[in-house]
């Protein structure tokens, strides 16, 4: 971690000496000149870099007591002081990224001084440090937010954690996860109990047929010896055999049905729980992960769990019972023989452990080569015009042949390994019979065991070895399932950052007054996207937000919607801090027309009434009319019953946008947010949308973002943002008169429009 809390010992020594030199004998009592003693902001910065003198090595940059120090590492004793610059001399600081490394550079009045170099491992922190030095130099307070490291390590074992998840595969507490998984079975105790009972019954019944076989042989042998026919005894055993087979089939039937039901049911419960949790989580959770990885929690991970619960656990239990049961019976019949027969089983187990990872490597190679071949195929066919135009068919053909040959090779190697595995495995398992017939035959001839026992042994043998072969597969499988389970639990355990306050407040009367007070915010901790933003908006006022992308406009909107909580300052609606405000009540009074209108699968009517399902159709039509969409909806073959969204009617961008506006009109919000509502439509459509917006904003507090400044001509006041700060505030005329950033933007757009007109 490049940002340290405490000074390393050699640096502390060096710092003491140096600052004593600078400040005279008595050290400066205030650690940081500009730090407010009462605030809880940090009082110093200690930045540890990983490059020194052009090679990997440590150096420290320390900011405190109005000075910026750089100390080198020099083995023992106090660290040599490289720089000691008073902040007052620094004009600006910046973190410049080069190739493979970067440097924090400060400008003084005379020259540029490179302070420290760093690798990418410290880049985010270096950026933050440079910004802080910049701020301190211009007399601001120190604000260091927590920075999310790119390389996240497992706190348990120090291994690198996977993207999008904090679950370390090496550190899973299998028992805890299993126990928790079983808790999902709790509502279905009866079914689970039946299932376990059936597995026991099956495992025991499976032991019966070989034993019966032995008994029948013994009976026949004895009958032959005593020359008295005992067909009735034979029939008696045959009856038991039949009964056990029948019992097995019945148990199998019950087991499959119960598992099918139980598995699907538990999977449903898990999916519902995960989805409910996902809908509760704040946007901050989704920022750090891509949608696909969040989706895979519900799809892939839950599927793994299903496999595990319906197939894995029952299979594991019955395999275990088969080994234990068979062993007991074999050892009971003849311990010596059983012990000898164990040897090939253990051999099979280890052969498998040796073989599986090797086979997997070959298959992975094969998949990799197949995907490379597909890639070659895809690019060639997609660029077939270019290939033909430049007459490169030969080259593409030979490239494809090459890739294809790679696939052939990998495929052959993978299958060749399998080819050698199965015969070896077959021989080892058969060697069990070798031992049995030799050793067992010897014993039978000497009358230690009966012929029937020998027969029974041979019947049990394969049942005895198969589990050894499959056991290592189960180990792989259970690791994967447990990881999936843990990832699912991770979602369930995540606490939303934004929570409904315990004592939610509501204003006595919702009016729509909004006040930003010194609001500061950062998404990642490294970069302040909003700083010291203050604005008081009266009910019904329309505020236009202007600025380049990344200036902080959308952040203001996100904070106002309370998708995130502010880091500094406060946002108040009708005098109440957003963090204390009843969230449901507030969001019912908040309406958004987003840049990308989102339509859900369903009818046009359902989409307009998305926020008010109970709305009457006449109100829906009225809202559509006000949003300039009644006419085009009426022209659809299915009118308001037209299906939109996935697989539905294709709507143009302007039509979608107007439906989205109709939704907001019907929602009738007190505070309205227009986020680039006219960004992606032509001028004529924009006019229609403009008219719709005009009707929408009446009597509502409105915040509008727009790149086309003409959209904002009706705004009561315009806020011009630059790099997270408000640079201008006023009406269109005032800002034009001031001839600042806004006036410049207007000028540029007017010129562009003139070019378009030509």
């Amino acid at each position: 971690m490049p940002l340290l809390e405490e000074l390393p010992a050699p640096v502390a020594e060096a710092l003491e000496a140096t600052s004593a030199d600078l400040h005279g004998e008595a050290p400066d009592p205030t650690p940081l000149d500009t730090a407010d003693a009462a605030s809880d902001s940090p009082r110093q910065i200690i930045f540890e870099t990983d490059i020194s003198d052009g090679a990997f090595g440590k150096e420290w940059l320390v900011v405190r007591s109005g000075y910026v120090y750089v100390f080198g590492a020099d083995g023992s004793g106090p660290a040599p002081t490289r720089h000691a610059l008073p902040l007052s001399k620094i004009r600006s600081a910046r973190a410049e990224m080069y190739v493979g490394n970067g440097a924090i550079e400060v400008m003084t009045d005379e020259k540029m001084i490179p302070l420290v170099r760093y690798s990418f491992a410290a880049a985010a922190e270096a950026g933050a440090v440079a910004r802080q030095i910049n701020g301190l130099a211009s007399g601001e307070q120190l604000k260091l937010d927590k920075i999310e490291p790119k390389k996240r390590l497992c706190p348990g074992c120090g291994r690198v954690l996977p993207d999008n998840s904090d679950v370390c595969r090496a550190c899973i507490d299998a028992r805890a996860v299993l126990l928790r998984l079983f808790r999902f079975l709790k509502p279905y105790k009866l079914q689970a109990a039946i299932s376990v009972a059936v597995i026991f019954v099956t495992a025991s019944l499976e032991l019966v047929p070989p034993w019966i076989g032995g008994r029948i042989v013994d009976t026949i042998v004895e009958s032959l010896k005593s020359r008295s026919l005992q067909m009735s005894t034979v029939l008696y055993f045959v009856a038991i055999f039949a009964a056990s087979r029948l019992g097995l089939s019945g148990a199998g039937y019950v087991q499959r049905r119960i598992h099918a039901w139980l598995g699907a049911r538990v999977l449903m419960d898990i999916r519902v729980r995960v989805f409910e949790q996902l809908s509760v989580l704040s946007l901050g959770y989704y920022d750090k992960r891509n949608t696909a990885s969040v989706m895979s929690r519900i799809t892939n991970d839950a599927d793994h769990l299903w496999d595990f619960l319906t197939d894995g656990i029952p299979w594991f239990m019955s395999t275990l019972l088969a080994i234990v049961g068979t062993s007991i019976v074999l050892f009971k019949m003849n311990a010596q023989l059983a012990a000898v027969l164990l040897a090939p089983g253990i051999f099979v187990f280890f052969l498998n452990r040796w073989f599986r990872p090797r086979a997997r490597r070959r298959w992975q190679q094969l998949w990799h080569r197949i995907s490379k071949m597909y890639a070659a195929l895809g690019t060639t066919l997609a660029g077939i015009r270019v290939v033909k135009a430049f007459a490169q068919e030969d080259r593409e053909r030979s490239r494809f042949r090459e890739r294809n040959f790679g696939v052939f090779q990998a495929s052959y190697e993978a299958n060749a390994l399998w080819a050698s595995y199965w015969p070896v495995l077959g021989f080892i398992m058969a060697s069990g019979y070798l031992i049995l017939w030799t050793f067992g035959g010897y014993k039978a001839l000497h009358g230690v065991i009966t012929v029937g026992t020998l027969t029974a042994f041979s019947g049990y043998l394969m049942r005895f070895y198969t589990p050894f072969q499959e056991f290592s597969r189960v180990l792989d499988w259970s690791t994967r399932s447990l990881t999936a389970a843990e990832r699912v639990f991770e979602v369930l355990d995540t606490q939303p950052d934004i929570r409904q306050p315990d004592e939610a407040r509501q204003p006595e009367e919702w009016q729509g007054a909004v006040e930003f007070e010194k609001v500061g915010f950062s998404y990642d901790g490294a970069k302040r996207v909003l700083d010291d933003f203050s604005l008081t908006v009266t009910p019904g006022e329309m505020i236009g937000l202007v600025g380049h992308s990344g200036a902080g406009k959308t952040t203001i909107i996100n904070l106002l919607c309370r998708f995130y909580d502010v880091i500094d300052g406060a946002i108040r609606v009708d005098g109440i801090d957003l963090r204390e405000l009843d969230m449901a009540g507030y969001r019912h009074r908040l309406g958004i027309v987003p840049q990308e209108p989102f339509l859900f699968p369903g009818t046009v009517k359902d989409n307009i009434a998305y926020a008010r399902h109970e709305a009457k159709v006449e109100d829906v039509m009225q809202a559509a009319k006000a949003a300039n969409c009644h006419e085009f909806i009426l022209k659809f073959p299915d009118g308001y019953d037209t299906q939109v969204g996935e697989r539905g009617q294709r709507l143009s961008g302007g039509e979608r946008q107007r439906i989205s506006i109709a939704r907001a009109i019907l929602h009738d919000p007190l505070i309205l947010i227009l986020d680039e509502a006219t960004a992606s439509v032509d001028t004529e459509t924009e006019q229609q949308i403009q008219q719709a917006i005009q009707r929408l904003i009446a009597h509502r507090t409105t915040f509008a973002i727009a790149h086309r400044l003409s959209t904002l001509r009706n705004a009561d006041r315009l806020v011009v943002m630059k790099e997270g700060k408000m640079t201008e505030l006023g009406t269109h005329d005032e800002l034009m008169a001031a001839d600042g950033v806004y006036a410049g933007l207007v000028k540029v757009q007017t010129e562009v429009n003139q070019i378009r007109a030509i």
Binding site: A615, E618, E631, D641, D668, Q691
Partner: protein, 208 residues
């Protein structure tokens, strides 16, 4: 929703709504729908409010082959095209009228209250606009390589229906009512799938 005009259950706004200076941009196209009544004073309603047409004062007549809509004491449109706002969920109410240029004239809440002649012309116009045969009987159904072949009796006569990729061409209107789009884009309604032959029911259920 206090800000909504024409609130739920409120009386239909009088057709001759108080005149306001409304933007011309979205008004009716004077060329295509020349006001016939009070010729020189085109009356325009506020274009962002739904205009409820009073069925008692509406006259729909066939003149020169076209359906002419007259709001008594207000104005006429030489060519008015009715369109159902909710053709599937509420086909008999909320009939909107568009003028010759496709601009919105207004909407009738319940056309049953119109006079008999108007209702007849409306029926004709709607019959022209909406041709969605309802399947009454399936005489043959088979599915082959994902393509469904139906031989059916409909309210508009017998027909062969060929549907490729039923999953994408099936619209569930309710739990029992479905709309099927055939390979050429024609649409057929199955009013109650439970009344269908077992073969057809099986084919449809597989795709719901």
């Amino acid at each position: 929703m206090p800000s909504e005009p024409a609130g739920p259950g409120g009386p239909p706004q009088a057709a001759a709504a108080p005149e306001t200076s409304s933007p011309r941009a979205v008004g009716g196209d004077p060329e295509a729908s020349a006001p016939v009544g009070n010729g020189d004073a085109p009356v325009e309603h506020q274009s962002f409010e739904l205009r409820w047409l009073d069925p008692a004062r509406l006259r729909l007549r066939r003149i020169g082959g076209l359906a002419r809509l007259t709001v008594e004491g207000d104005r006429s449109w030489t060519r008015a095209a009715p369109a159902r706002a909710f053709p599937i969920s509420d086909p008999n109410r909320y009939i909107g009228f568009l003028d010759g240029a496709g601009k919105d004239i207004g909407i009738v809440r319940d056309p049953a209250e119109m006079d008999e002649e108007s209702r007849r012309v409306l029926e004709e116009e709607l019959e022209l606009r909406y041709f969605v045969p309802v399947v009454t009987k399936v005489s043959k159904a088979k599915i082959e390589f994902g393509t469904v072949y139906w031989t059916v009796e409909t309210t508009r006569g017998p027909r062969e229906i060929v549907v490729r990729n039923l999953r994408d061409n099936l619209q569930e209107l309710s739990a029992i009512r479905v709309l099927v789009t055939d390979i050429e884009g024609n649409r057929f309604e199955f009013p109650d799938i439970n009344q269908l032959d077992p073969e057809s029911l099986g084919i449809i259920l597989r795709h719901l």
